[in-house]
Amino acid sequence: MRNRTFKMKIMPVFIGVLLTLAAGIESAAAQNLPPGAVDFEKRCYSCHNINGGDKKGPDLKGLLDRRSKEWLREFIQAPAAMNRKGDADANALFKKFAPEIMPDQPLAPEQIDGILSLIESLTKKGETFIPTGAKLSRAIEAGDIDAGREAFTGKVALNNGGASCIACHNINGVGRFGGGTLGPDLTAVNTKYKDPELISILQNPNFPTMKSVFGAKPLTDEEIVKLFAYFQSAKFANPAAQTQPAVAPLNLWFPAIGFLGLVLSFVTLNRIWKNRLRGVREDLVRSSKK
């Protein structure tokens, strides 16, 4: 109950914040697309940034000063193979960003060149990459948080048939037993990623696992708005999670209920089959000894 009133109070404040935010994204989009921008957004942006700091992978600022073009071409197309081959630079990168493994990118050499030139120009200008497509299709409305929660928990199925988020992800306070633990805890996802980054991930989830799940079954624009709103709300509903993200509290109830259930099921099964045959000869011998 306390939780609920708290939510009510912050709701207007935070919707206001979101509205201004969304409007900002809208205005930044009206630019000409530099070459490679689309590919970079689709292929790289989930994990990489230019001039924005390390994400899952390294910041690509000044990439061409560090590596040769030939190396880059080979690495981008098959990073894991290069790591296995024992390339020193590749090994160092894999070590630094473990356990992440950069997936192979089936890009043509021209596409790679386009991306590299984009990196070069942004490095020179000292600008951050701002994805043009990574914006919400509409402004966030009051009901979107709850709608987003329902999409997250699977109460409402995703339109294109993708798996609900809760199957692999947890958010503090979702569901009776929390969400899945295969993917990372998303409680603080909105501080981990900047807003356009998060939207971009929702649009093109380029992580190997997510890609295989959502590649053919992408989220709709409407779902992205709702989920984004829900992720944003987590920031306000659980301020504590911002300082200590991704550590789920150990819930002792879970094993306790499990153990109790096990004992109970044994008792029940024993009662149901209490007339089962427990051996004939042993009884004969025992009764004859009396």
């Binding site: 099964l269 089962r276 004939v280 004969l284 011998v285 004859s288």
Partner: protein, 497 residues
């Protein structure tokens, strides 16, 4: 009329000497494999006794066979719903201890033991765990009434006897027992077939042999419960169930099954029977006392032209019919009514028949004393030490008339032959005995010949199996039609021993 062929058997209990050669022959051929050590597809029991597995006849415990419910036969272990509910935990299974824990001896200790004050011994070790065990039971633990206060005294068939009769059976100089060799009965309405959730058990259309398809069996073990004779076994090594296959590879090449072939007393007969499948439901639904008669009614006369027509219609050819006409089983079961099914009240329509034993031959009680030197030489069967009710419980669903008819007939044959060969009988008495069972002298002679002097070819009349035709009936792509399920066989079948 739906004419089918069944390879059927007769065991003549009056000739069984309880030597277990049949069991050993079967064990050596089929069940000396890992996981099958405890199985005895053929076993010989002493009656009275509890048999193998212990008290297998007690269906209140094991829930085998069929029972009549609302005029319909239903498996005693429960209908479909109950079986599904119990599918992961079948509650009516015999434990390994009820069969016995198979063992061998550590013979190498005899040679490898260090020198000491005592002779080395070969200790028994379990063939299941490999650990030392104290042997407490075996597949024939109560042989010759061994341990009778524990075992024979608890024979389930004693329910047909009064307390006095039971006590009499164990009195000194009145003790009586006989042997009961058992294999799979290859029943017409086998409980195992009906209970199998995987559809792995089937009755071969061409000869009625009941088999378990090892490729399809998933080891649910419903058949173990459903078979009232406890003749399907679970192989703990392969995870599949197994049973007597009536040595069909031998039958198909014209040889008698191993247990038949090796029988020292030559008690076993094998031959084809034709039966009318349309009448089966009636036979299963008969009252207990009527079951033997109903089952006998199923069996068709192979000399009847109408039957021949029906047989040809169902693909049974003249060569097979010819074999069926010479079938010793047909004579014993249908013509002479000497052989009776074992526990027909289980309602599986077993197709192995037993000629009830006439033993002991020279018994007489006079004023409570036991006298072997009897005036009559052969004591009348009414005075037999084994009560008729006991035999009736075993072989005719409690119908004493069937058993006593079979015994009287055998008795009459003895008197008839005694008169002929020794001549110290009163001819009128013999005639009276023959007349009582409605037997001609010719029939008595025939019974005598097939009982005492049969050749191998007379004992085993195996109909030609026509495997080549069976293969054609399966169609060209029968190899593609094979079912696949479960984990399959874990071991490739290997050649050689």
């Amino acid at each position: 009329m739906d004419v089918r062929l069944q390879i059927s058997m007769v065991f003549h209990l009056d000739k069984c000497i309880g030597c277990h050669t049949c069991s050993v022959a079967c064990k050596n051929v089929w069940t000396d494999r890992k996981g099958a050590e405890y199985m005895w597809w053929n076993n010989v029991e002493t009656k009275p006794g509890t048999g193998y597995p212990t008290k297998w006849e007690d269906q209140e415990k094991y829930k085998g066979g069929w029972e009549r419910k609302n005029g319909q036969p239903e498996l005693k272990m429960g209908g479909r719903v109950l079986r599904v509910l119990n599918v992961f935990h079948n509650p009516y299974m015999p434990k390994l201890d009820d069969y016995y824990e198979p063992w061998t001896y550590k013979y190498e200790d005899l040679l490898n033991a260090p020198e000491g004050a005592d002779q080395p011994t070969a200790r028994p070790i379990s063939m299941v765990t490999g650990q030392h065990i104290d042997i407490e039971a075996g597949p024939n633990w109560d042989d010759d009434l061994g341990g009778s206060p524990v075992y024979a005294a608890n024979d389930p068939n004693f329910s047909a006897l009064t307390e006095e009769q039971q006590a009499e059976l164990f009195e000194i100089e009145r003790l009586v027992f006989f042997y009961l060799p058992r294999i799979c009965n290859h029943c017409l309405n086998a409980g195992c077939v009906a209970a199998c959730p995987s559809g792995a058990i089937y009755k071969r259309g061409e000869d009625g042999i009941v088999l378990i398809n090892q490729e399809v069996c998933r080891g649910w073990r419903m058949c173990v419960t459903a078979c009232p004779y406890k003749k399907t076994f679970y192989n703990w090594s392969t995870g599949k169930s197994e049973k007597c296959i009536l040595c069909f590879p031998r039958l198909e090449t014209g040889q008698a099954p191993a247990c038949f072939h090796s029988c020292v007393g030559r008690i076993r007969y094998l031959g084809g029977l034709l039966y009318d499948a349309d009448k089966m439901l009636d036979a299963m639904n008969a009252q207990d006392y009527n079951l033997v008669e109903a089952q006998r009614d199923l069996i068709l006369d192979p000399f009847d032209p109408e039957v021949r027509e029906g047989a040809l219609r169902n693909g049974i050819d003249d060569a097979t019919l010819e074999a069926v006409r010479r079938s010793p089983v047909y004579k014993y079961v249908k013509e002479w009514k000497l052989a009776l099914p074992l526990h027909p009240e289980f309602r599986t329509l077993p197709m192995l028949f037993y000629v009830p034993p006439l033993l002991p031959v020279m018994a007489n009680t006079d004023a409570g004393t036991y006298d072997t030197a009897n005036d009559e030489l052969f004591a009348p069967i009414e005075k037999a030490r084994l009560p008729m009710q006991y035999l009736a419980k075993l072989f005719s669903g409690g119908n004493v008339g069937e058993v006593s008819y079979a015994l009287k007939k055998q008795y009459a044959v003895r008197l008839f032959k005694r008169l002929e060969t020794v001549g110290d009988m009163d001819a009128a008495t013999v005639k009276q005995a023959l007349h009582e069972v409605g037997m001609t002298e010719g029939e008595a002679e025939a019974i005598y010949r097939l009982t005492s002097l049969p050749t191998m070819d007379e004992r085993f009349v195996i109909p030609p199996s026509h495997r080549e035709e069976a293969m054609q009936m399966l169609g060209d792509d029968f190899l593609l039609d094979r079912g696949e399920a479960g984990l399959g066989l874990r071991d490739r079948p290997a050649r050689g021993a």
